[in-house]
């Protein structure tokens, strides 16, 4: 710290050269420090990825693209589209609802409310799988407590449908979004709002030109995170809707580990590869947008 302040008045080229040299040195040292992590990532992701690629492009013992073709038609294609649709709806709805909830909590004067909501979010964001499915089945299933008490069945309520699954996924996605966005909302400086107000901006104008642009990276990150969570979810859907809502994760499980289908293992690997591609596409949309708006948070 002291060194940099004393170097500040020095001529510009000298300073930049000095800084550059220092940065290079720290970077090389940093690389060796990160080596164990890189080795770990290489093993934990590289080996399965290689096995996945090898399997996906092998059919009947010979290299082939038959698995990929198979994974992109008929029931498998339906499942993939349904998965993407479900995840996209959950991601966008979850991000919007979560952002509003978080904003309400952040602007609230009640410290206890904030603590309670954040703690509850921490718990609920990790509540998933079969226990979650059974909690919903017991509450809102065909013979669930609320369904029978309120006579929801006669009103056409059906938990075991696409929208039922969206509702259940939102149950853990909204709290996750709250956890993601609260720090960013805390980072919106009150001075910016005061400055905007002093210049005669309305609340809408403040959000339109200052708030939302600053929050965009976090919002986008949240959407990507929720998309990934819903896209990869398996146990809840398996216990709750079976095949009524076709999902790619359920198809993979059927092909990979069942009592019925034999010899579909490599199609399952091809489906996994498709999932990776979809996730990659989502990231590809997110990254440039994120980079564009990230400068606001510096």
């Amino acid at each position: 710290m002291i060194e940099t302040t004393s170097a500040a008045p020095a001529p510009l080229p000298l300073k930049s050269r000095g800084e550059g040299g220092g940065r290079a040195r720290t970077r090389s040292a940093g690389w060796t420090g990160a080596l164990p992590l890189l080795v770990f990532v290489g093993l934990a992701f590289g080996v399965p990825a290689a096995a996945l690629l090898g399997g996906a492009f092998t059919a009947g013992g010979a290299p082939s693209t038959a698995n990929l073709t198979e994974s992109l038609r008929g029931a498998y294609l339906t499942a993939m589209l349904s998965s993407v649709k479900l995840s996209a709806i959950v991601a966008v709805a979850g991000a919007v609802l979560g952002a509003f909830l978080a904003q309400a909590v952040v602007t609230s004067r009640l410290r206890a409310l904030r603590e309670a909501v954040l703690t509850a979010s921490g718990v609920l964001a990790n509540f998933g799988g079969v226990p979650l499915a059974f909690a919903w089945i017991a509450t809102l299933g065909n013979s669930g407590v609320l369904t029978t008490r309120l006579g929801l069945g006669d009103l056409g309520w059906n938990l075991y449908s696409f929208w039922g699954l969206v509702l259940v996924y939102l149950y853990f996605s909204v709290p996750l979004m709250v956890l993601v966005i609260v720090p960013a909302l805390d980072g919106l400086r009150p001075q910016w709002r005061e400055a905007a107000q002093n210049n005669g901006a309305t609340t809408w104008q403040f959000w339109r030109h200052v708030g939302i642009p600053v929050l965009t990276p976090t919002l986008l990150g949240g959407v990507v995170l929720l998309f990934g969570g819903a896209f990869a979810a398996y146990a809840t859907a398996a216990a709750m809707v079976g095949t009524v809502v076709p999902l790619v994760t359920l198809q993979i499980a059927d092909a990979l580990a069942g009592n019925v289908l034999i010899g579909h293992e490599n199609v399952a690997l091809a489906l996994s590869l498709d999932m990776i591609v979809v996730a990659g596409l989502v990231m590809a949309v997110y990254l440039p947008l994120q980079r564009r708006s990230a400068r606001w948070l510096r």
């Binding site: 060796t32 080795v39 029931a75 065909n142 398996a238 709750m240 809707v241 069942g258 009592n259 019925v260």
Partner: protein, 388 residues
């Protein structure tokens, strides 16, 4: 300052990796030694194709006791009385039975055999769907072994070399909670009645669960299909879904008990097992084998070719195919493969036979080719039939 800190972090990380590697190396020789010892002791058991090869059943018992352990996989305790079978076997011979992944599937079993060759924790014996037994035998994953009662197993329900043989089976049945359902359905046609809205479930989804697959086959037989044509079964479930009667929740003891799946298409031995289990809890569970869609199927036993406890694995098969073992399956409402011969020589427990759900006629089985074709049709069409 900064760089020295990174160096410390790096050093710490390297140390962590080194320590964990060291720990891994330390444990490796122990496992190797164990495998070596058990392999030399049971060398002859690993290749024995009958108890006679080892000098009789007594010698087999001796060798199995020496191994002292048996690894079984995917045997749910509430499925065909497996809980009691495992317990009885363990107590009778003083062998510790390690039961792994009780809720797993046939595919899990085959995976475990393939990926754990030469490991101590590989499964010794397998209980497989017939199609998996056939494909596994083709791949050479099983050790051929003929139990003493091998000749009594009906033709067509065993591999000639003894790579696998059917163990127990049953019929597709309709279980029904008589407390919640005023008039229980007796046939597949009944299931379409409007009074069963949202109530008809299966044990899993038919592209994954063997019993649900059998349910679709039975529905096909009930609706003008045949072993060659499962499509009417898919059409039936499409109609069931359109009528609002299909309930996609996988039926388990828990969902049956709380009333979420008041009607469940499942193996008769599982449904009948629920009857006993729930009688004390106030659920009146009735089981019918529908007259319009009779479909029976058997599971198969096989021994892992690379079984870590080869003698215990063979003794387990001898136990299962003894009168005692077969009657234990019967006690779990399953129909053991030796039941016909046991009924003729009087060794089957008549009281247990009387408790089985009533079925007229003798069971027919589809051929392997017919099953394979039906599965392809199912895999392609099931999602379209019930989704939406």
């Amino acid at each position: 300052m900064q760089s020295s800190r990174t160096r410390i972090v790096g050093l710490a990380a390297v140390l962590t990796v080194a320590t964990s590697l060291g720990a891994a190396c330390g444990s490796a020789p122990a496992t190797g030694a164990q495998t070596g010892a058990s392999a030399s002791a049971a060398n002859s058991a690993a290749t024995a194709t009958s108890a006679a090869d080892l000098g009789g059943l007594d010698k087999l018992v001796e060798a199995a006791k020496k191994e002292g352990q048996l690894n079984v996989i995917t045997l749910p305790p509430d499925w065909a009385n497996y809980g009691e079978i495992i317990k009885t076997f363990g107590e009778k011979y003083g062998i510790k039975v390690n039961s792994e992944n009780p809720d797993g599937s046939s595919a899990d079993e085959i995976n475990a055999v393939k990926t754990r060759k030469g490991q101590d924790r590989a499964p010794d014996v397998l209980d497989l769907g017939t199609a998996f037994a056939l494909s596994g035998a083709k791949e050479g994953l099983f050790a051929p072994y003929k139990v003493q009662s091998f000749d009594k197993i009906p033709e067509g329900q065993k591999d000639a070399q003894g790579n696998w043989y059917n163990d127990y089976g049953g019929y597709v049945s309709i279980g029904c909670d008589a407390k919640r359902i005023p008039a229980c359905p007796q046939t597949f046609a009944d299931l379409l009645k409007p009074e069963y809205k949202g109530k008809v479930a299966m044990n899993g989804n038919p592209t994954k669960s063997g019993s649900a697959f059998a349910g679709v086959f039975a529905a096909a037989l009930a609706n003008g299909g045949s072993f060659d044509d499962i499509q009417p079964g898919l059409d039936f479930f499409k109609k069931l879904k359109a009528a609002g009667n299909y309930n996609p929740v996988e039926s388990t003891p828990a969902t049956v008990q709380n009333g979420e799946t008041p009607i469940s298409i499942d193996w008769d031995y599982l449904n009948s097992g629920y009857t006993d289990q729930f009688a004390a809890k106030g659920v009146d569970w009735k089981v019918t084998v529908p007259a319009d869609g009779k479909y029976a199927n058997f599971y198969a036993q096989a021994i892992n070719k690379w079984a870590p406890h080869p003698a215990a694995a063979r003794l387990w098969e001898e136990f299962l195919y003894s009168t005692e073992g077969q009657n234990l399956w019967l006690k779990g409402y399953a129909r053991p493969v030796l039941l016909p011969s046991m009924q003729s020589d009087g060794s089957a427990d008549a009281a247990l036979v009387a408790k089985l759900p009533k079925v007229e006629g003798t069971p027919q089985f589809p051929t392997d080719a017919q099953v394979t074709k039906a599965k392809e049709v199912l895999a392609a069409g099931w999602g379209a039939a019930v989704s939406g």
